[in-house]
């Protein structure tokens, strides 16, 4: 069953086609990675899915429903959730309060407190809970935001460069976290530059280039594709 379906999605800023007739289908339960050189239109595609940008033409279907005209918060209510590229935590508030804000619409009272504790343990941030989120390390901020995104119990989790700025160990741990979430039934779409991460988690990979779907397949197929190597991996390996 397809969970997310993008049909001929177009977005241009003036004369620049940022996404050009993008067709992409996500199966429920898969971990799908979106790769491509800078400026390929990956983040714009996320913003289109989230409703922060509206497409010039084309449709976005989520669980069979056309959500192209819905506002962002309404899409979140349908079961979408996101971790942004630049960590979007509430910097001036404590770690605990960050999670409380994410969880409070689903839980109340003691149940809310218990749920926050559970999530703190999951993220390994128990000892940082009273700290102001702005004081966390970059990696911890990334995890906190992933935690907030996950706490909504989304059907589809969008991750924009979840491992940016992380050490190889942290990257690996993030990969394990994503796999655990996926095992619980969460579908994941991740933008990622780190090939180790992509190899670790991705069931399928889509390469975006100049706003168009350039190639699609398993990581091995993508790596073996010489055209992809020419535009992207070739530069990385050089």
């Amino acid at each position: 069953m397809s969970l997310l379906e993008l049909r001929k999605l177009n977005k241009h800023f003036g004369g620049l086609h940022v996404t050009n007739s993008v067709d992409l289908t996500l199966q429920a339960g898969e971990i799908h990675c979106l790769i491509g050189p800078n400026g390929a239109g990956k983040s714009t595609l996320f913003r289109l899915i989230l409703g922060e940008h509206h497409p010039g033409s084309g449709d976005i279907l989520f669980a069979g429903e056309n959500i192209t005209a819905l506002k962002s918060f309404a899409r979140i209510h349908r079961g979408l959730s996101v971790k942004f590229q630049v960590p979007g935590v509430f910097k001036g508030l404590s770690v605990r309060q960050n999670l409380e804000i994410a969880l409070q619409s689903r839980h109340r009272g003691e149940e809310l407190e218990a749920e926050i504790d559970r999530l703190l343990t999951f993220l390994g941030l128990e000892s940082e809970q009273a700290q102001v989120a702005g004081n966390l390390s970059h990696g911890q901020k990334q995890w906190l935001e992933i935690g907030m995104a996950v706490s909504l119990k989304p059907r589809l989790l969008l991750l924009d460069e979840p491992t940016a700025g992380m050490s190889p160990e942290e990257t690996y741990m993030t990969g394990e976290m994503v796999q655990r979430l996926n095992a619980d039934g969460m579908t994941v779409l991740a933008i990622e530059h780190d090939m180790a991460f992509v190899r670790q988690v991705a069931h399928r990979v889509t390469v975006l280039h100049l706003g168009q779907v350039f190639a699609q397949g398993s990581i091995d197929e993508i790596v073996a594709d010489e055209r992809v190597a020419a535009i992207y991996l070739g530069q990385a390996h050089a």
Binding site: F73, F90, G92
Partner: protein, 354 residues
């Protein structure tokens, strides 16, 4: 019953400075002093204190919208003026019998809130934010000032209430409570003092509860990162609008009480100077905390009045200097800075004792 208990627990929380027996003991002490104060003072001084209290409501409105919500409204005086004039128009037309002045107070505040619904709808649902919000709200209050200033002619009247242009409206009846025998008239001394003090305590505590509730959580989340707040599923426009309307009602309450206090209201109450001053009180006190805002406003107002004796121009220059100093030394507010410092000391002392 448990709901009520949960509500009172929200008097303390991460969004408000001050917790525990020490804080509430001090609060009770200050309140007791405020209650006893008129017994040891003369009518004029008490009336002057009422004047200070009246402004605290508009300061709290700005604290809510700007300090907690992150939207700088430069035009809280618009709601102040609308409600002030509204009270005048109602009571000059319908008098003060049967407790009508109290109804007029509520209706005038309601009109200010309704105006805020309209203005706020276009601003927040039109996604106006940041500095543009300040510009729009400032333009609105200045426009209202200009408009009211040109209503001097006899044709500008609503019923029997003349608007009187630049001179403003006066001689509206004071708040009157119907009472068997003789109605109680709240002139600008002890009577009005206790009413305004009561309202102040009520509003202060209610705002503490509101800001430490899940609603308050969303409001500060929007201040910190509106995009993230929306991507957690909150319709931030709705939260911003509700906050704006509550703030407008508080500014309106300030306006009615001011009108009641002096029995006059003029267009200059919506002018540039009037619009800028609350910003200074709130910034100097500490915009992101209710208690700091109340203390800061009262202290700055008292200092301002003391300086006015030497000339109001100097006092205004001093206000400007004070704002610059605040921004340079304690951008989050001088009073808040001192309170946080005291809090750290208290925490260290209890740690040592425990």
């Amino acid at each position: 019953m448990t709901g009520l208990l949960a509500m009172f627990r929200r008097l303390e929380g991460p969004q408000t400075v001050g917790r525990g027996p020490a804080f509430w003991g001090l609060f009770a002490l200050v309140l007791a002093a405020a209650l006893a104060y008129p017994l040891f003072s003369d009518g004029y001084t008490v009336g002057n204190t009422v004047y200070f209290f009246v402004w605290v409501f508009i300061a709290l409105s700005l604290c809510l919208i700007w300090g907690y919500g992150g939207s700088l409204s430069f035009g809280q005086t618009a709601f102040f003026g609308i409600a002030g004039y509204g009270y005048g128009i109602f009571t000059i037309n319908f008098g003060s019998a049967y407790g009508f002045t109290l109804l007029a107070l509520v209706m005038a505040v309601g009109i200010a809130a309704l105006f805020a619904v309209l203005l706020g709808y276009f601003m927040f649902f039109g996604r106006i934010a940041g500095v543009f919000l300040g510009i729009v709200t400032l333009a609105v209050t200045l426009m209202l000032e200009r408009f009211m200033a040109q209503t001097a002619g006899p044709e500008w009247r609503i019923g029997s209430a003349r608007l009187n242009g630049f001179n403003g409206m006066s001689a509206m009846p004071p708040l009157t409570i119907p009472w068997p025998g003789e109605p109680i008239v709240l002139f600008a001394d002890i009577g009005l003092y206790y009413l305004v003090l009561g309202l102040l305590v009520l509003v202060y505590l209610a705002l503490r509860i509101l800001m430490n509730s899940s609603f308050g959580n969303v409001i500060v989340a929007i201040r910190e990162n509106p995009e993230r707040a929306e991507m957690l599923g909150y319709d931030i426009r709705k939260y911003q609008l509700i906050t704006f309307v509550i703030g407008a009602a508080l500014a309106g309450l300030s306006g009615v009480l001011y009108t009641v206090w002096g029995q006059y209201i003029t267009p200059s109450s919506m002018g540039m100077t009037a619009a800028a001053l609350p910003l200074i009180w709130v910034a100097v006190g500490g915009r992101s905390d209710l208690t700091s805002t109340v203390i800061g406003t009262l202290v700055v107002l008292a200092a301002f009045q003391a300086l006015t004796i030497y000339g109001s121009q100097y006092a205004l220059v001093f206000m400007g200097v004070l704002l610059v100093l605040t921004v340079l030394i304690a951008p989050n507010g001088l009073v808040l800075g001192v309170m946080n410092w005291l809090g750290r000391i208290a925490a260290r002392l209890t740690q040592r004792a425990g």
